[in-house]
């Protein structure tokens, strides 16, 4: 099953709809709304049922002729109406699975029910379009560190975003990627102006971020860069994932 992130669709009445994830394959298609907000998403989910499935082909997805399976995905239960809900907290929970029409997808989801999500390993994707400034900074840390490679020719904004999106780079619609580039540019400007101003610059002619000659590959300088990046990304002993979630 192939998928696209934040694709634009029209309903049969011509209204714009941009669900978070849309996937389609031979066994059917689905739409997922991912949210951390506490209000019900029932109206959004209901509206996705009226998306005209012929537009799937516009995004390189398998065309369909029936309404999709609709899901919401959350950190804890909120009543989103008569739709399947995926709870992604300490363990994966599948609620209202009887609503899923695609039997193959249903069987796979039921198999995954209860999967342990505590201490879930990092995944290779470090940037996403909906990220907030501090999340983008975290997502950029190791991409910025690569600028200090002796063989680095620098990185353009486009390269930085593509590397952070990794395998999602080709799955994200052009407009969302463009918005993400703007956000990344803002955070990089802050890094250069306030945190690593002697070590990283933006070369206007090349259109690329580069390291300066001040960087030397020795433990003292590397630790200094580590601290500067930690500070920039707002990482401290109190800011663990659980505490961040509890503040939402």
């Amino acid at each position: 099953m192939d998928y696209v992130i934040e694709p634009l669709f029209w309903t049969q009445k011509g209204d714009d709809k941009t669900p978070d994830v849309v996937g389609s394959g031979l066994s059917g298609w689905f739409v997922i709304e991912i949210t951390t907000q506490l209000g019900s998403k029932e109206p959004n989910l209901e509206s996705y049922l009226s998306i005209d499935p012929r537009y799937l082909a516009q995004h390189g997805l398998q065309p369909q002729d029936a309404p999709p399976d609709v899901f919401s995905s959350r950190l804890s239960f909120v009543n989103d109406g008569p739709y399947c809900q995926l709870i992604v907290r300490d363990h994966l929970e599948i609620l209202k699975e009887e609503r899923i029409k695609n039997q193959k997808l249903k069987a796979e989801l039921i198999k995954s029910h209860g999967a342990d999500l505590i201490m879930l390993p990092n995944i290779p994707i470090t940037l996403l379009p909906e990220m907030r400034p501090h999340e983008i900074r975290r997502g950029l840390i190791e991409i910025v560190m690569q600028l200090f490679s002796p063989e680095s020719k620098g990185k353009s904004l486009v390269q930085i975003v593509d590397e952070g999106l990794e395998r999602l780079s080709e799955k994200i619609v052009v407009s969302a990627k463009s918005r993400l580039r703007d956000s990344v540019k803002r955070e990089m400007e802050d890094l250069i102006k306030h945190h690593l101003k002697d070590y990283i610059l933006f070369n206007e002619e090349e259109g690329a971020y580069r390291s300066t000659e001040k960087f030397k590959q020795n433990p003292k300088t590397m630790e200094k860069i580590t601290f500067a990046l930690t500070d920039w990304a707002g990482i401290g002993p109190q800011k663990t994932l659980d505490i961040w979630i509890s503040r939402q």
């Binding site: 390993p121 975290r138 840390i141 560190m145 690569q146 003292k220 590397m222 580590t226």
Partner: protein, 344 residues
Amino acid sequence: MRQIQSLRDFKELLQAGFESNEESLEAFGKTYSTQLKAYLIESNKPAPDSAQSIGSYWRKIDPSGWYLNAESSNRLFLDATRERIWILYSLLEAIESDFFVENWIKNTNGLDSCWLSRNHLLHWETLSGWSRRGMGLRFSDGLSPEENSGNFSLKAWHGANRYVPRLDEILNAAQDQFALYSIRYQKRSGGSISISAEWYSNGKITINRAADVDEVLISIAEMANRYADSLEEATDLRNKTMAPFEIDFSQPISLDAFSDTVSKGRGDMKLWLVEIESEPDFKRFKGIDLHTWDRVLLDVGPDFVYLTIPGSGCVNGAPRLAVVQGEDNSGKASIYHDGVEVFS
């Protein structure tokens, strides 16, 4: 001595050394020619010509990809016939030879040692004619302060185990807990020893005795091919799924000491990382594998590490982390990807 001009010249040079050592062993009970050493090197370079540094200018002696180090007076040779795994052959004395390899790798971005897992080292036990003659175990406790460190180092030559009751049991117990850093094997053909060699976890091989140069080169190439297959398999798995490499250790990891080491980019681990989350028994890091400057994401628990390598990054960091962390601090290591044991 005339300059080596071809692969055949190189083989004749090695063969003469083996025969000279066998003769002196028979006559005087010891060898006098420098023993052959080989080093398996993981390369992300297209050819040795692009891995030049001080003291390492390579001249081709065979079109298939064999080179002579132009400044070594016929003592350093390179088999670069494989894309990812090169084999450096050395007739230098051990200290000089190790120093050269260590510096060449350190000063050349994209080169690394081949970090042989326990299963790689034990590979010869599955082949007929080979028998184990010894092993080396190491636990440096390198992350503890010197006054509190509990080192363990053992090098045991096999053969007389029956004279000491329970010796086998003790060796097996130690082998189960500590990292295996070397292993010595012997191959017998026609009633006599055809190869006696020691294999190290950092990809070094010492040929103590040998009868036939082609048999020696093929044995070393066998391990290079196995390692190349392991790298290809691990890269393929990484490309197909989101799963990380999981490295399990038999001893606990000192999380604070680990964090302190990697934040400065120090040591053989070659990792430069930023700690982004911390719990009493878990830390999360993001950063760089200094071998290739590829991105890496690390989750470190009490006795395990999850290593995620985004994009097309080199996966040699997984066996390096297993071997270096295992020998330094965390004992026996096994590497898995999505439940499948890799580098085995």
